[in-house]
Structure formats: structure tokens, C-alpha cells
């Protein structure tokens, strides 16, 4: 009898501590799940345009209607997916298409026919207008080239 009485309170105390710990753990899990349930729709809501842009960047080909009429030594700016791109008709008749986003800090670059170069006005980056190679200034990487196919109705630009 006396043994039982001595043991019982000890068992109860441990049990109480366990229940308390289990309760706190369950409350923590429930709280986290609740917060996640609130945060998830808000995150998706705010991320919607990003997802739309993702589907737009999945574009692999752009047809530029009537672009075959582009005069020699001039440029046509267009959007490839969501990003700006350029189509250059060089004096020697060659067609070159590249992304128009500077690899340094993302400004839109411009083709300068007189200097025969691609120039970024933001920090003075210079690219080769035939290959896209970064020639001078801060740009770390070349501009990406696209494949160009010219036909009677327009110019097709596609990912290389």
C-alpha cells in the first residue's frame, strides 16, 4: 500500500509534464499550419504577375511582320517574351538579332550605326554588333544571339 502511494504522485507529475509538452507541440504545429494557410494565398496573389511573365518567357519564336523591309544600317526594337531585343540589318546586308538587355545591370542597350557598335548609356558598356561579344566597359558577359530567318512576309527570330 505505502509503496503505491509513494510512486503514484511521481508518475502523475511526469504525465502532466508530458501532456503539457504534447499540448504545446500540437499548438505550435497548429499555429504554424494556420499561419501557412493564411500566408500561402497571399504569396500566390502577389506572385501572379511573375507566373504570367514566366509563361511569356517560355516563348521560343517571334515573327516580326514586314521586318524584311528594314533598311540597311538600321535597327528594330521588339519584345522577345517579356524582355527587349533588337534586330539589326547591317550595311553589308547581314541580319543579326540579340537580346537588348545589358549584362551589367540590365539597362536597354542601343545600336549605333555610325560607330558600328552596341552601346549601353548607363555605364558605358560596349558590345560587338555582329557577335554580341562584350568589347569594353563593365559588362561581364556577351549579349545572347538569336537565330534569324528572313522570308517574303517578315523575319522570324528564334532561340539559338
Amino acid at each position: 500500500m505505502t509503496d503505491n502511494i509513494k510512486i503514484e504522485p511521481v508518475v502523475e507529475e511526469a504525465g502532466e509534464r508530458n501532456t503539457r509538452r504534447a499540448f504545446l507541440a500540437a499548438a505550435g504545429v497548429a499555429g504554424t499550419a494556420y499561419t501557412a494557410a493564411l500566408a500561402y494565398p497571399i504569396y500566390r496573389y502577389l506572385a501572379s504577375p511573375e507566373e504570367m511573365a514566366l509563361s511569356a518567357t517560355a516563348v521560343t519564336e517571334v515573327t516580326l511582320k514586314d521586318a524584311q523591309k528594314l533598311p540597311l544600317g538600321s535597327v528594330l526594337m521588339f519584345k522577345f517574351g517579356t524582355a527587349p531585343a533588337m534586330l539589326i540589318h547591317h550595311q553589308d546586308g547581314r541580319w543579326v538579332s540579340l537580346t537588348a538587355v545589358c549584362t551589367h545591370l540590365g539597362c536597354t542597350v542601343q545600336y549605333e550605326p555610325q560607330a558600328d557598335r552596341i552601346h549601353c548609356a548607363c555605364h558605358g558598356g560596349v558590345y560587338n554588333p555582329y557577335t554580341g561579344a562584350n568589347v569594353s566597359g563593365p559588362p561581364p558577359k556577351p549579349l545572347k544571339l538569336f537565330k534569324v530567318a528572313v522570308n517574303d512576309t517578315g523575319v522570324e527570330v528564334s532561340r539559338a
Binding site: P41, I42, L46, E51
Partner: protein
């Protein structure tokens, strides 16, 4: 550096321990009517929800000519946009409801008496601004219902002699409800009203801190040793937060099970749809004006003016209650105010019911 040193560093500069001591000594009375103390807090919580969801809507909403298109985009294109919009609209309605419950509980507990007159007045002003929030926000989607609700609502000031139509034109931004109206209602809804509401709310809450919770006259009459109270920290706060959680769950349930609809785009050439009616919190005044217009010798303009006058008189009497129901010691016997309150509730409920009944 230990957290104690960091705390001491901040405390020395901001006086955190004074705040903590203040919070420790704050108590909330406990009695049979304590339940009503939560409703101001619920209204506050729903206001915070609206600030939050409002900012989220602001991320994609475009006022002016594109208003409808942008709300359509929020509702049908953006992920969970329907839910954010629904939560905003539902919390607005629930907040008006919570404010009304709070107001009537304050009224019947006679919590407006000295020294709490400013609490009552600022509360009434907050309710007034909340209803303008509701009216201006209702137009922003520019669907059929919001278009006609605004059209009708802005006809009411035209009943005011001489200056009425000038006021209505100023509010509308021209003779017709259109993109200029949306643009100025938008400015009102997201800049002007919050700029007035938030400081007034801070004043209202500061007064509650200053004077503490009022007790109804029946409890006030008890000797101090028979009155019970509980500490604000953490007992009342914990219950308060539990009520916030309950409110959030009810809101989430309503917003997701009954998503707020978006009607057809507003078009001034399309006739008003059958069964069109104001939001529930405007139903009563709308119906009162309609009923007064039916009285034979009040038909037409005199009826409208009489209706507006009567309604204004009722509101003024309601607002001024702290100044003519002042008897503190015989509070229980000051029955006139109670009857006025019951009459107000009866009139509100009856006209609302009649209003909804006559739609069908």
C-alpha cells in the same frame, strides 16, 4: 551582449518598463455584461484586416476608366484575388456590424456618461466615417450594382435646397457617375478617410485607456468590494485575442464559402436591374425615406426634405445623448434614454425588414 543588457539599453531610452508596469495594473471589470467589452476590439481587428487586404487590392487595382477591368483581373486572373477581395468586402460588412453592436452596448450600459462623452462622440464619428468608407468602396469595382448604388446615393444631397445639386456634382465630379467619380472616390477611400479615421481611432483608444472600461449602472451601484475585475495582462488580452481568432475564422469561412460577386460592367445605357437595393447598413435610412415619401401630404420634394430632416434630427439626438442623459447616481431609473434606444433599434430593424421584404 545579453538580452537583459539589450532590454535595459532600449528601456533607458524608451521607458518600456513604465509601459509594462502600466499594463500590469490595468484591470477590466467582470460582470454579467462583460461579453460586450469584446466588440470594440473585434471592430478594431476587422479594421486591421481591411487595412491589410486593402493594401493587397491596391497592388493591382487601377482607378478611373480601367477600374472594372482591374477588378475583373483581380477576381478572375490573379491567384486567390477573389479571396482577398472577398475578405475585404466581408470584413467591411462585419466591421460595420461589430461597430453597431459595440455602439448599442455602450448605449445601454450608459457608458457615454461623464467622463466618457468624448469616447461616445469620437465613436459616433468613427461610425460615420466607416459608412463613408463603405459607400466610397462600394463604387470602386464599377459594376452595375455599384454604379446604381452610387447614382441613387448621390441623388440624396440634391434634396437639400439651393446648394444640393452643387454638392452632388462636387462629390460626383460632374453631372453623371463615371470615371471621374471612381477616381475621386478612390482618393477618398484610400487616402482621405484613413488619414482622418486612424488618428480618431487612436484618440478613441487612448480615451479607453484613460478612463478604463465603463460598468453598467447596476454594477456601478454595488459597493466596491462586491465588484470583480480581471487583470488586462494577460487575462483579458488573451480572451481578446481569442475573439480575434474567432472573428478571423468566421471571416475566412464567409469569404471563401460566399465569395463576393462581381456584376456586369457599369453601363449608363443599360436599365437598372430588377431587385436592386442598397447594402444592408444603408437599407434602413433608404426605406425610411421611401416610407415618408408615401405619406400623402409629403409626396415629392417636401417628403424628401422632411425625411432628411427627421433622420438628421434622430441622429443628432442620438449623438447628443451624453448631454441630456446625465444623471449618474439615478442611472438605473433614467428610463427615457433606454426607451429611445429601444425605439432606435426597433425602427432600424423594422425598416430594414420592410426594405428587404418589399424587394421581392
Amino acid at each position: 551582449m545579453t538580452s537583459k543588457t539589450i532590454y535595459d539599453w532600449i528601456d533607458e531610452r524608451l521607458g518600456l518598463s513604465e509601459l509594462a508596469a502600466f499594463a500590469r495594473h490595468k484591470t477590466v471589470p467582470v460582470h454579467s455584461q462583460s461579453f460586450w467589452y469584446y466588440w470594440g476590439g473585434i471592430a478594431l481587428f476587422l479594421f486591421l484586416v481591411q487595412c491589410f487586404t486593402g493594401v493587397l487590392l491596391l497592388v493591382y487595382y487601377r482607378p478611373g476608366a480601367e477600374a472594372y477591368e482591374s477588378v475583373r483581373q483581380i477576381t478572375f486572373v490573379m491567384h486567390f484575388g477573389w479571396l482577398i477581395r472577398s475578405a475585404h468586402a466581408w470584413s467591411a460588412n462585419l466591421m460595420i456590424f461589430a461597430i453597431l453592436v459595440h455602439m448599442f452596448s455602450v448605449y445601454f450600459m450608459k457608458a457615454y456618461r461623464k467622463p466618457r462623452e468624448f469616447g461616445w462622440l469620437s465613436g459616433m464619428a468613427l461610425l460615420g466615417i466607416a459608412s463613408v468608407f463603405g459607400f466610397s468602396g462600394y463604387l470602386l469595382p464599377m459594376d452595375e450594382l455599384s454604379y446604381f448604388a452610387t447614382k441613387v446615393g448621390l441623388e440624396i444631397p440634391t434634396a437639400i435646397p439651393w446648394v444640393g445639386s452643387a454638392i452632388a456634382n462636387m462629390l460626383r465630379g460632374g453631372p453623371e457617375v463615371g470615371e471621374f467619380t471612381v477616381q475621386r472616390f478612390f482618393a477618398l477611400h484610400v487616402v482621405v478617410l484613413p488619414a482622418i479615421f486612424v488618428p480618431l481611432l487612436a484618440f478613441h483608444l487612448w480615451l479607453v485607456q484613460r478612463h478604463g472600461n465603463a460598468v453598467p449602472p447596476s454594477i456601478e451601484a454595488l459597493p466596491p468590494e462586491q465588484r470583480e475585475s480581471m487583470p488586462f495582462m494577460p487575462n483579458f488580452l488573451r480572451k481578446d485575442l481569442a475573439m480575434w481568432l474567432v472573428s478571423l475564422n468566421i471571416l475566412a469561412l464567409l469569404a471563401s464559402v460566399f465569395p463576393w460577386s462581381l456584376g456586369k460592367q457599369a453601363d449608363s445605357l443599360v436599365p437598372a436591374p430588377a431587385g436592386i437595393h442598397p447594402e444592408w447598413y444603408f437599407m434602413s435610412p433608404f426605406e425610411m425615406l421611401k416610407l415618408l415619401g408615401m405619406v400623402k401630404w409629403l409626396q415629392g420634394e417636401p417628403g424628401e426634405i422632411a425625411g432628411i430632416l427627421l433622420f438628421t434630427l434622430g441622429i443628432v439626438l442620438w449623438i447628443l445623448i451624453p448631454f441630456y442623459d446625465t444623471k449618474k447616481d439615478s442611472g438605473q431609473r433614467a428610463r427615457a434614454a433606454n426607451y429611445f434606444g429601444l425605439l432606435a433599434i426597433f425602427a432600424l430593424l423594422a425598416t430594414t425588414v420592410i426594405g428587404y421584404w418589399t424587394i421581392r
